[in-house]
Structure formats: C-alpha cells, structure tokens
C-alpha cells in the first residue's frame, strides 16, 4: 500500500525537478559563424618578370555552396566580411642555375559581373618561392581590395550574383633574378581569402533546469 502511494509521489517530484521552466527544450537564437576560404590557383610559367595571370571565381556560387552545406538560408545571414588572406606555393620546379626566385608584386581583384574598378587585395614583397612551398603564409591585405570584396558580399546578400577576377600582377623589377627564355620561372601557388559569414540561427537547445539559479 505504501509503495503504491510512493510511486506517484516520486514521479511528481521527478517531473517537477525536470520541469523547472516548463520543458527540456528552449528555442535559442544564436549567431553562428562560418569560416570559409575562397582559394584561387595560379600556375606561373614565366620567361619574363612582367606578367599578369588572371583567374575567375564565381563568388555567389561559392557562398551558395556554404549555405547549402550548412542548411542556412540567405535571409539568415546578418553579416559577411573578409578576415584575412594567405598564399602557399604548391609546386616548385627548382631552376637549373640557382635555387630560388625572390618575388614581389600584388594580387588584384575586380568584378566582372558588373563594371567597376580593379583594386589590389594582396601585396607581397621579397617573397622566396622556395620558402613558401607547402607553407601557408599570411599576406598583407590592402583596403581597396577588402572593400571591393566586402561590397560584393553585401551585393550577394542584396540578391546580386557577383563574379570576381583575381589576377597576379608582376612588373619590371619584381622578380630576382629576372626570368628569361633560358631561365624560366615555374611554380604553382594558391592564394586564399578567408571570410566569415555570420548567420542568426534559431535552434532547439536542451536546458533542463533552465529556471534555476547557478550551482554555487
């Protein structure tokens, strides 16, 4: 008899303790940050120190992929911005007459879906090609290029489909020693722009004792 009485009492106690604020799950809205790098591969086979190597990136398509992978709607995004840049030499053919190339120059960016200026996004000075082989090297960002990319992100959020052209630009005096038809500079490298996409996401979160004060 006592046992039959005790069971409902204990259940009520258990249920009461578990339902400190009505339920186990609470809907919480939190800012989720997605880190993504847009990377562009460049192949340099140069017999002169003056060259321009362009590559096209469908920026909108890349961001669409991030949203799809993470099950996020474009309308959930509250901000998107450039974080940093880096580059890495992925393949290097050591020249016959010397060990390395010392390169300076810049990477430019422009929109090709709309008319607009070309802006420098990354500058590099006296970079040893051999030293950058297999090493992700932080790059110096340039404000005009960052602004162009941030504007492209804003335009994407506004419904546009930005397409970008990145280009490696080298001019006279930028490569030491200067390449020539008999001393061709040959290496592959990847330049990456890291950016954050911030999305406000509502999620059901277990907070079983949500109504109670902190454990001392």
């Amino acid at each position: 008899m006592k046992t039959r009485f005790l069971i409902p009492v204990l259940l009520v106690l258990l249920a009461f303790a578990l339902s400190g604020s009505d339920c186990l799950l609470y809907e919480k809205v939190l800012d989720v940050v997605f880190l993504h790098s847009t990377c562009v591969d460049f192949e340099q086979i140069e017999d002169s120190e003056e060259f321009t190597t362009p590559q096209t990136v469908d920026y909108a398509d890349e961001i669409d992929g991030i949203l799809e992978d993470n099950d996020i709607e474009k309308s959930d995004i509250s901000a998107a911005h450039v974080v940093s840049a880096s580059y890495e030499v992925t393949d290097f053919t050591v020249p016959a007459t010397h060990d390395d190339w010392d390169i300076s120059g810049e990477i430019t960016v422009r929109r090709i879906d709309v008319a607009g200026p070309t802006a420098t996004i990354v500058e590099y000075t006296s970079q040893s090609v051999a030293a950058a082989l297999g090493t992700r090297t932080p790059a110096t960002l340039v404000q005009q290029g960052v602004d162009l990319l941030n504007d492209a992100l804003d335009d994407y959020l506004a419904g546009e489909m930005p397409v970008l052209e990145f280009a490696v630009v080298s001019e006279t005096g930028d490569v030491d020693p200067a390449p020539s038809p008999s001393d061709v500079m040959e290496f592959d490298w990847t330049a990456c722009i890291a950016f954050h996409i911030v999305a406000a996401v509502a999620t059901d979160t277990p907070d079983p004792f949500g109504g109670y004060e902190a454990t001392p």
């Binding site: 204990l10 258990l14 303790a17 911005h81 790059a139 277990p206």
Partner: protein
C-alpha cells in the same frame, strides 16, 4: 503500475539524451569557426559539466549485503547549473587576422550574440555566440547487480543510431564495482561503508566527441528505515577528445577537466522496491543529482 513507472522514466531518460543531439550538431558548426585555444575555451564549460555529471549519482547507499542476489534498475538524473563566470572566455583572433586582439567572447554556454572586432584594411573578425545555456543535464539507465563477498557491479549503458541526423550515433557505457568495507568492521559499527570505482566511455558521432570518465572513492551511509542519508569522497578524472572540421581542415583537440576531489552529500528515500534519491556534489564543477530506483 510498476511497469508503467519504469517505462515513463525510461522514456524520459531517452528523451533527454535525444534532445541533446541536434544541439551537438549546432555546436559542431559553431566550433568550425575556431581552432586551438579558442575552441578549447569555447567548449570547456560543457566538458566540465559533462565530466561532473558522469562522475556523480552512481550510488545512493553504502550498504552492500555480503551475499545473495540483489538487483536494481535505476534512472539517475545529473545536472549542473552554470554560473556567470563560465559564460565568457578570453578569445584571441586567429586565421591570420591582424592585428591580433583578445576579447571576452561567449563560451558555448554564454550569450547568443557574436562579437566582431575591426582589423587592418577594413577586415573584421567575428567570435561566434554561445547557446545561452543555464544548465546541463543528463540521465542514463543504470543496472546494479550483486552480491558476491560484499561486492556489487554497476552498469550504465545507452546507445542509439540517430540515422539521418547530422551528428550520427550516440553511446554511453559505464562499468563500476563497489565493495563493502563495513563487513570487516565490528557488528556494532554504526554506519555502512563501501569503496568503489567506475569507468565510463561516451561517444557522439563517428569522431565528434569521445569522452572517458573515471572516479574512485569511498562512501558512507546510515539507514533510518525509509530515509538513508549518504555521503562520499572521491577522486574524479575526465577527458574529452573532440574532432571536427574548420575551413575544410580536420581539427582534433583534447579537453581535460581538472582532476579533483569530489564530496557527495545525499539522501535516499523510500522503501524497497521503489526508492528515490537527491544529492549534491561539491567538486571543481559542482553538480546535483536525483533519481528513481526499482529493485531488491
């Protein structure tokens, strides 16, 4: 009636574990923005709470009969209420962001809003928000079997394949042994005393979380009919390996909660075959527990 009671509590136990899984998928997303010390700082309060919960509420009496068949089906609930001082941590910008800056950013239990700082050339770095959690709780079915020469075994087990849910499978296995000390005392020794240890292993997803907990200690209790106060002192250890992807690169880290001495004070209520308990655990991360037990 007894069967319905057990079923209801079992369903509650399963529900508590299942509701945690979608949140774990979201935690993996949040972690993807972090590596190294930032990821550890972000996740540490949850690891501490998880370790505290695993290492508590696995006994509710120090009385272990010397022999005879004894069994129990138990549904312990363990919880931690987070204090404000674990809601933030010192986070430092990463991923080549310049200049390097350190700010007070939300941990996994902190505020849901992100924090953004400005850098060189109009670049910006955003620290993700937390889940605005006030508490962490868990339960797992537990079986107690014995006794042989004053020794009993405790088994915790739960496993489920979450199918198409992003995070995958969830599983917990624990095995503990307790031995009566008071059987070696004089018959008029006033209290029951036991010593025991328990090992537990928890996995979530293929590799997302792999945690182990170990506790070793002594317990005392004194029965006054339907009420039995109990207590214990133990030494706890907890380690949690976390594996996730950040910017398409695999990140692996180990979170070690502070190994600590753990003091338990509690009371068991009821008359067999149905009993309940309530306890408080004072440790580096303090926790509380309660539960319902059926057995003889």
């Amino acid at each position: 009636m007894r069967c319905q009671t057990g079923l209801m509590v079992a369903m509650l136990a399963v529900a508590m574990l299942l509701v945690a899984v979608p949140a774990c998928a979201q935690i993996a997303d949040q972690l993807s923005a972090y590596t190294g010390a930032n990821a550890e700082g972000y996740l540490q309060p949850l690891a501490d709470a998880f370790g505290a919960d695993l290492n508590s509420n696995w006994y509710h009496s120090a009385h272990i009969a010397v022999d005879g068949f004894h069994w129990g089906i138990e549904f312990p609930v363990m919880g931690v209420i987070f204090s404000d001082d674990v809601a933030t941590f010192d986070a430092t910008t990463q991923d080549g962001f310049t200049p390097e800056q350190t700010v007070e950013a939300p941990t996994v239990v902190g505020d849901g809003g992100s924090i953004t700082v400005d850098g060189d050339a109009n670049s910006q770095f955003t620290f993700p928000g937390g889940f605005d959690l006030n508490s962490f709780g868990m339960t797992v079915p537990q079986i107690r079997l014995g006794n042989y020469m004053g020794t009993e075994a405790v088994i915790r087990y739960f496993a489920i394949d979450m199918g198409d849910v992003e995070i995958g499978n969830i599983g917990l296995f624990g095995f503990g042994v307790r031995h009566s000390i008071s059987q070696y005392m004089e018959p008029d020794f006033p209290i029951d005393m036991a010593a025991g240890l328990m090992y537990q292993s928890f996995t979530l997803g293929d590799d997302f979380i792999d945690a182990t907990a170990f506790t070793l200690g002594i317990q005392v209790s004194k029965s006054y009919g339907w009420i039995e106060p109990y207590g214990g002192v133990s030494y706890d250890m907890f380690s949690m390996d976390v594996s996730y992807e950040s910017d398409e690169e695999s990140v692996e880290m180990t979170l070690d909660s502070e190994s600590s001495v753990h003091l338990t004070l509690g009371v068991a209520l009821g008359i067999k075959p149905v009993m309940a308990n309530f306890e408080y655990n004072l440790a580096s991360t303090s926790s509380f527990g309660f539960g319902l037990y059926i057995g003889m």
